[in-house]
Symmetry: C2
Subunit: 230 residues, 2 copies
């Protein structure tokens, strides 16, 4: 029979799950900084050292949140993607779905994204360790585009998903800084910029913009042979 991955053994996996659950609960309740590793260990019913046996650092603990949030976002996006054909509606729907699923995490997401801004952190959206998550996210925007009735050139069709993802990262960056009630300013940003994006996408077929667009595509190619990092 096949050898088991160490962290998939029964006992280990159980303990790992207990720790994650405890951590996410405390994060939501007291925020990231307000949650100590000792508290996490205690809530999970394990020793402090044991928590570090499963998670190399406090930061690594939020990767669990990251994954959970992404699964929720995908699920929340599904209905929109199945229903809408219009590019603007699809893009807007996916972004609002993101804002919805992350609403309750806003407070502690702030400190989470702080560590994510460290290029050396595995949590950075540009880090090698995030590649799977990043690819999944880009794939989502590929579906946003390819499932729509928007007409684009082949070159754009291929690179636009990545650029839409970058655009979504911009929205996230704004959202992190957004202190308005119910993050209405972020929603406003989405509502106002999505039509702009769509219009630019449509314009990209026309002669005046063709040159700029082609050059932009080239730059994306040249710089993403090896991604934003290293």
């Amino acid at each position: 029979m096949a050898a088991r991955r160490p962290d998939t053994s029964e006992r280990g996996e159980q303990t790992r799950t207990r720790i994650v659950d405890a951590a996410l609960g405390l994060f939501e309740e007291r925020g990231y900084e307000g949650t100590t590793m000792r508290a996490v260990a205690a809530a999970a019913g394990v020793s402090l050292g044991n928590a570090y046996y499963y998670f190399a650092s406090k930061d690594h603990l939020v990767q669990a949140f990251y994954e959970r949030s992404q699964v929720e976002h995908l699920a929340a996006s599904r209905p929109v993607l199945d229903r809408e054909r219009d590019l603007g509606a699809r893009l807007s729907g996916v972004l609002h779905a993101w804002l919805d699923t992350n609403r309750r995490y806003h407070d502690f997401a702030v400190t989470f994204f702080r560590t994510a801004a460290d290029p050396d952190s595995p949590l950075s959206p540009f880090s090698p360790q995030s590649q799977p998550a990043r690819d999944a996210a880009i794939a989502l925007y590929a579906e946003v585009l390819h499932g729509s009735d928007a007409k684009v050139t082949p070159a754009v069709r291929e690179r636009l998903p990545e650029m839409l993802w970058l655009y979504s990262m911009g929205v996230v960056l704004y959202w992190v800084h957004d202190r308005s009630t119910d993050v209405e300013r972020s929603r406003f940003l989405v509502d106002r910029t999505v039509p702009l994006v769509v219009r630019l996408v449509n314009l990209s077929r026309y002669r005046v913009l063709r040159g700029v667009v082609d050059d932009a595509m080239d730059i994306v190619d040249e710089l993403s042979g090896r991604r934003l990092t290293r």
Copy 2:
């Protein structure tokens, strides 16, 4: 006679300077994380607690770096701004000047920008405490534009500096993640995107783009009545 600001009194100012010098030296030598407050205090010849009398936290210590760097950048940009009239040359010159003046700080700037990514940190480029520095930076890009021979509509003329600053923040973000030797990829990014930006600026006068541009300007207005933060 006028009352002295406490931190401008003779002895205090001296001590403050000693601490800043010690800190910047150690930052450059061992990086941010590698530098302990105890080491800074020791190098400055003061007690640990005394360092905290002048600087509320380790983070506040890098504001000194921030200011020094900005002064250097301004000085390095001056020749280009006095010489060039072409928008692309001016923009490119200013950005390369930034890369030059910050070259030796790259290693520890990484961790510096990490804390800067925290919206609650006074070091965030979007924070109220950074407003003076931010305004100064935007003013620089206003000079880049207004001293050039580029033809733009009044609306663009007014808002473009802020957008150029945002563009420069994007370059900085890329630079922080850039691990290539001598940050050549960042230089490549500048060389390739500046012409794009210039072409977009020129196109902004034409009918096809007018609508998009006007809408973009509106959004900037609506969202920056109160800035990106609060």
